[in-house]
């Protein structure tokens, strides 16, 4: 079953191109026929000439990012985008969510839907739809939200997964917090699951783990692509009956996002190191999983700077988290293990009751997928997709900053001009406060 990706805005198109690059190079590496077939079927369409075309639709209100992504793909020589699988305009959205959602989205709805429909029809079987966008700008966030709404209407039985890139905290765009709040509040009603990557976190990974200097957006996008690839490439799941799963998005959503108030997913991968160091390193599953577990419970997004003093609370007498408590309670976790001796990996430490919310048992809250095929040149790698309090802090920051601006009604008129009133903002704030409150209550 195949996944159709919709890349929206500059960020979505750039990250998407890196993702398909990683997926293709991983699929074609080595003599791994079954894995390769499954991966190519999932993400690429094979033309009559045998070329691989990404099952993707590229959308932007400016042509620059789309052209760049297409030419990079062509330059790589292993895959490309479909000739007609893109839509762009001459004028952007001005970093205004309302412009994207209320104007561009409805205006170009038919054209975009047609592109997606064509791509879906090229699939033998549709496993789900994945959108990729940022929340800071106008096209990715506004048009992306509108398109997600359309996809939900047209394909009500399909799973919709949104991948969001959250902006730097220090601010790339002055309206980014407004755009983020409006995007998240709307997507919460439309999406089945929202995977989040924060630019700040990924930048730290580039700097401290990968030793990249200076750090470009390409490097950040590659790290995101690597982490996403670790989740999306074929794997053996508990429900797949001994073959690579045909329903990856459905199984991911079922494992992590069954509750409508908990849809935010964070991703951590281990190991991550400069590519020059990979051939000289070896790891044990025990060590990798020990680090990954501690990263989870101490809310550390990478394997450096882990706080080993953080421990799960005792099973009896759970208390509400006081401000400053650093233990990260999980609702559900999905562990994806890839590589050598994967079946010998002991995952019991992720099944302890104390790391989960009390109302869900570890057997329901924890899932593990495995693949004996090493991923992206790492002999062993583990990716954790977590529905936990990890994003509570960043979300709270975004909402707080947005509210501070809204309190003084700064720039509201720019949204009002396109049809987003103060009332819409208030509804969005209310919705996100509810999400924040739900995540805060996870440990009680």
């Amino acid at each position: 079953m195949s996944v159709v990706t919709v890349q929206l805005g500059q960020c979505g198109n750039q990250v998407g191109q890196e993702l398909f690059d990683v997926l293709c190079s991983d699929a074609l590496a080595g003599q791994r026929k079954t894995y390769s077939t499954a991966s190519c079927e999932r993400f690429f369409h094979q033309t009559a000439k045998g070329d691989l075309e990404a099952r993707a639709v590229l959308i932007d209100m400016e042509p620059k990012a789309i052209n760049s992504s297409k030419s990079k793909a062509l330059k790589g020589g292993r895959w490309r985008y479909g000739e007609a699988s893109h839509f762009s305009q001459k004028q952007g959205s001005g970093n205004n969510w309302a412009n994207g959602f209320c104007i561009h989205g409805p205006h170009h709805k038919d054209a975009v839907e047609e592109l997606v429909r064509r791509e879906v029809e090229r699939c033998d079987r549709l496993a789900g739809l994945m959108t990729m966008m940022s929340v800071a700008g106008g096209t990715g966030s506004g048009v992306g939200t509108y398109i997600t709404q359309c996809l939900r209407d047209i394909y009500p039985a399909s799973f919709v997964l949104n991948h969001l890139t959250w902006p730097f905290g220090t601010g790339e765009v002055i309206l980014q917090n407004y755009n983020s709040v409006l995007t998240l509040a709307h997507l919460y009603q439309l999406s089945d699951a929202i995977i989040v990557h924060e630019n700040d976190t990924v930048q730290r990974i580039c700097s401290q783990l990968l030793n990249i200097k200076p750090i470009a957006f390409t490097d950040i996008n590659r790290v995101i692509a690597h982490q996403l690839g670790g989740v999306l490439q074929p794997a053996l799941t508990p429900d797949s009956n001994g073959v690579y799963s045909l329903n990856p998005i459905g199984e991911l959503v079922s494992a992590l996002c069954c509750h409508p108030e908990y849809k935010l997913l964070s991703v951590s991968t281990i190991p991550q190191m400069p590519s020059s160091s990979v051939p000289y390193s070896s790891f044990s599953w025990t060590g990798l999983l020990k680090h990954l577990r501690q990263m989870l419970i101490s809310n550390t997004k990478m394997e450096e700077g882990i706080d080993w003093h953080v421990r799960p609370p005792p099973a009896s007498g759970r208390i509400r988290s006081a401000a400053g408590s650093s233990f990260n309670t999980s609702l559900a976790n999905l562990l994806v293990l890839r590589g050598k001796d994967v079946y010998s990996a002991e995952t019991g430490s992720f099944e302890e009751t104390t790391i989960y919310t009390p109302w869900l048992s570890p057997s329901e809250a924890f899932s593990a997928w495995k693949s004996p095929i090493p991923f992206n040149k790492y002999e062993k790698s583990a990716t954790l997709v977590s529905n936990s309090q990890a994003l509570l802090g960043p979300l709270d920051d975004i909402v707080r900053k947005a509210w501070n601006m809204f309190a003084s009604r700064a720039y509201i008129h720019q949204y009002d001009a396109f049809g987003i009133s103060e009332e819409s903002f208030l509804d969005s704030f209310t919705a996100l406060e509810q999400v924040i409150s739900s995540y805060r209550e996870l440990q009680s």
Binding site: M1, D124, R125, L126, A127, A157, S158, F159, D192, D239, N241, L246, N247, G250, E251, V253, S254, C257, C258, H259, P260, E261, P358, W359, L360, S361, S363, E364, E441, S444
Partner: protein, 393 residues
């Protein structure tokens, strides 16, 4: 008479449907409809086939799983008895030796068959056969979640319920998607088979085989639907079999209840005698244990004595159940009449007997618990003694 004749024909047809259903579900040697009819009156026609039928149904239900086919009659009887016991079925013939003979007949096996049908064994058999015939059947993925038997109205329970509901919703979507995939695949296969002018030999053989399998599946499901539509008639007929059985089992001299239309418990007094014996035995064993407490180190003996004494002190008197006690279902009027006559001092109304039995069960369970505790302490004691034992070299 005509109406009765029509009913008989209907029953015969229904039993033939049941028979065909059982055969199509993969069972061999199902008794004929005539054998079923005769079994009602206690005959032993086709007894061997009735044994095999019950045995096969027990295997389908998973109540027994002997890997070897049973050949000897005695072994089969033992297997069937064990299997029926596992399913909760009890009958007097299960505790008798075959040599005793007694009143055993095919009707007893017919009643056991009725029990198995009532407990869903036919459906289990059907599911196995469907899975065997339909190669493309999806194995359902069961949600491994447990709901608390008592609903609690707090926010945690509500969130858990919402999670489970969401999980079901996602599973539904996944299943719908897989069904669409399967339908498309089937369509492609059929279209390829129809449109191809000279299909490959292996392709057509495979398609033929699939067609045959699907036809069998359709036949099976048809039969099951027919059975379900007329199942009520079968149970009405089974009621008449039970009535036959009860009448015969109480055809023994019973001067206590002349001319009264009552139904008596088919187990007679044997089970109650056994229960009373059990109760007496327990109280005897408990008493004898009190004299076997040996002085031991520390609190061990004291604890045991306390446990024993507490258990003996708290030993309530067992309920008085007369040695000959027939539980009878009585009409209200008959009950009133019976309470006035001396002849009825050995009879209990069903509700009273049920009460007595329930309290006896409770007491037995308590005694068992205390006995286990005492045994455990004794074992610990002995283990302690063994630890200290020094074996001279």
């Amino acid at each position: 008479m005509q109406r009765g004749g029509a009913v008989n024909v209907q029953v015969k047809q229904l039993i033939q449907t049941l028979r065909r259903l059982l055969v199509t579900s993969g069972l061999d040697d199902v008794p004929t409809a005539e054998a079923f009819r005769q079994a009602k009156f206690g005959g032993r026609l086709e007894e061997e086939q009735f044994w095999k039928l019950v045995e096969n149904l027990l295997r389908a239900a998973g109540a027994v799983s002997s890997p070897v086919k049973v050949q000897l009659k005695a072994e089969r009887r033992k297997l069937v008895t064990t299997g029926l016991w596992q399913t909760g079925y009890h009958a007097h013939w299960m505790f008798e030796n075959e040599a005793e003979g007694g009143r055993f007949s095919c009707r007893d096996l017919l009643l056991a068959l009725g029990w198995l049908l009532a407990t869903g064994t036919l459906e289990k058999l059907l599911v196995h056969q469907v899975q065997h015939l339909d190669k493309m059947l999806l194995t359902p993925v069961f949600v491994k979640s447990e709901l608390c038997s008592e609903l609690q109205f707090d926010s945690a329970s509500l969130r858990r319920l919402q999670w489970l509901f969401g999980s079901l919703r996602h599973q539904r979507r996944s299943l719908l998607s897989l069904i669409n995939v399967r339908t498309e695949a089937l369509y492609k296969v059929l279209a390829a088979g129809v449109s191809s002018s000279s299909p490959g030999q292996s392709c057509s053989e495979a398609l033929q085989k699939d067609c045959v399998g699907l036809q069998k599946l359709c036949d099976l499901l048809d039969l099951y639907v027919k059975w379900k539509e007329a199942e009520r008639v079968f149970w009405t007929w089974m009621d008449s079999v039970v009535m036959c059985h009860l009448r015969e089992s109480h055809a023994e001299p019973s001067s206590q209840t002349p001319g009264r239309s009552v139904t008596a418990c088919c187990h007679g007094n044997q089970a109650l005698e056994r229960l009373e014996g059990l109760l007496l035995r327990f109280s005897t064993e408990q008493d004898s244990q009190n004299y076997h407490v040996e002085p031991k180190k520390g609190g061990g003996a004291k604890q045991r004595r306390e446990a024993s004494s507490s258990s003996s002190q708290s030993l309530p008197s067992s309920p008085v159940i007369p040695a000959v006690c027939l539980v009878k279902l009585q009409t209200d009027r008959a009950a009133k009449q019976s309470s006035r006559t001396a002849e009825n001092r050995h009879e209990l109304p069903a509700c009273r007997a049920a009460e007595l039995l329930r309290s006896a069960e409770e007491q037995l369970l308590q005694r068992r618990h205390r006995q286990r505790l005492a045994n455990r302490m004794q074992l610990q004691d002995w283990t302690g003694r063994l630890d200290q034992l020094v074996i001279p070299l």
